[in-house]
Symmetry: C2
Subunit: 343 residues, 2 copies
Amino acid sequence: MRKWTISDLAREANVSKTTVSRVLNGRPDVDAETSARLLALIEDVGYVRSARAVQLAKGRANVVGLLAPFDTSPWMIEVLRAAMERVQATHFSLVLHSFPHSPAEMARFADQLNNGSMDALMVVSLQQEVPAIAKAAADGLPVVMLNDYGFNAGLADIIPDEAVGIAEAVAHLVAVGRRRFAIIAGTPDFPISATRLDAYRQAIRKHGLELDEQLVIEAPFTAPAAQAATLALVDRGVGFDALFASSDAMAVGAMRALKQRGLAIPDDVSVVGFDDFASAEFTEPRLTTVHNPLYEMSARAMAQLLDGVKANKPIEKSEEVIGTHLIVRDSSVPSRNGAGGRG
Amino acid sequence: MRKWTISDLAREANVSKTTVSRVLNGRPDVDAETSARLLALIEDVGYVRSARAVQLAKGRANVVGLLAPFDTSPWMIEVLRAAMERVQATHFSLVLHSFPHSPAEMARFADQLNNGSMDALMVVSLQQEVPAIAKAAADGLPVVMLNDYGFNAGLADIIPDEAVGIAEAVAHLVAVGRRRFAIIAGTPDFPISATRLDAYRQAIRKHGLELDEQLVIEAPFTAPAAQAATLALVDRGVGFDALFASSDAMAVGAMRALKQRGLAIPDDVSVVGFDDFASAEFTEPRLTTVHNPLYEMSARAMAQLLDGVKANKPIEKSEEVIGTHLIVRDSSVPSRNGAGGRG
DNA sequence: CTGTTAGCGCTTTCAG
DNA sequence: CTGAAAGCGCTAACAG
């Protein structure tokens, strides 16, 4: 016999398909002897339930979709790790979807949203309005966004509380004696650029200091761009002893520029980044940075989604915030320690 | 009407389900007018085919599974990128599976292998025998391994040709004037440790030189371990001017150690790594390294798998090799350039 | 505790 | 060019 089905088992054991199904699903209302006999047979012939048939009959696929920018982002691995761990503890599967680039891809994705191939959806850093998603959510699909920053109104969104970690960073810088704060801010096309800049400015104020606007410079979120910007910043001639780069990649560029100008890190300038990607361990010196809680956010999103599926109800609009915190490494603590220092 | 089905469409349009199905599948043998009318209706009511029903009827899920170590490996993103790109060009989906850690997880995975939830499987860096996979493959499931190094006999495996890139690296080191070669080798529990060490040794021989066994030291594949090993190596007092670290992470540790001992990179010692992960751009100096062709390997594997599914036949045992090459950055070319140099 | 009878929504011979 | 009928393999009332 090629592949056993529930009917084969039923015939072989002289019971009905229903009974077999009950045993398969561990229902209590089956005679112990019958159950044991069936289980033995199942084991014996190596029967395994057809996932497809179950899905059709149950009207559910036990699949959560993950829509994310796999093409670019190295930090996606953090999101994946968390999602996988949560999913693996259940009977769900995780299926990946890249952002649809062409209209054709968008159409296919919209179909997937509605053809029952997923029971829930997690969307990472979309940051653009996609009506098909909102519609699916309105039709009852549990959807949680990560880092959407309000682009898709009405959907649940989970974002990091960047200000907390940045405030920690500033407090740390003050504690090690820094007073002249500079920042490589991101470009205005990303919402996070302003968020991080504002948080930095506010945090500095809380310490009775002021962010000198001459020490603010914008750059794209890449190492080379930040390097150029930092060079320009140093060349303005306005001294600074603390530099916050709006991302780890930018921090790398900034550190290169500082070294180029003969400034020692951290002795002349303390550098702090944002993200805490794996690479932060590999910079020289190792980078002090604000941990971006992608893992935690993803875990949280997945928990909400799985709950949503189980409860069989959509997820309400909400904006959940996950705290960030500073990871102190070697790029920020000068050896000759200033004011509040402990050196 | 809540959710349109093929029957609803048939009734509404006064045709049979069969005809609707034909139109849905773009079969040519349908009256043009009927077809147009149906298409209009479909568009009109926003009908979308149930993926689950199609899958059950067709006996195929159009899913390729990806079994991989998501918990640890940052380079997985490369594998994912390639796999997603290939998959997105088709009507397949990619579903993720983490390595089963407990027997229970293994049992669940083995079930998935046989319950029709995937039509093909790609396995990354498993490097341990998993009979369930071999069995599924024998039963007709297309399976391709990446970096399995023969642990699962009888299955198709794709591996990098590390020797090519390492030979390039050695040639490069010779060209910039290096003659005293050292290596931080991996520990023997990983097959790649010996592969890389041997390739290095052979390459050096091809240049009429010899790898001094005093300049070989083993360490786990991490930065701290490599740092300690490098310190020990330097302290042996046997001079060297070129150091090959068996991974990028190890190279980072090695560079730290060299700096600790007052050695300049690349002027005193040229450092070359292996992997070319994103972090290689972030080291100081930027790391010259052998590119690990994970992306290419994954793309190749996916192509084979999709072919296998389309042709509806298993994939034969094979060992495909993908070339590697050297990426020259700043850690290897000394400013005062030696022998074959071009400075 | 167990079986009967309908589906789940689509595909596919086989006739016409 | 079109339709009837029989599945795909399992679940789920509803009776007993």
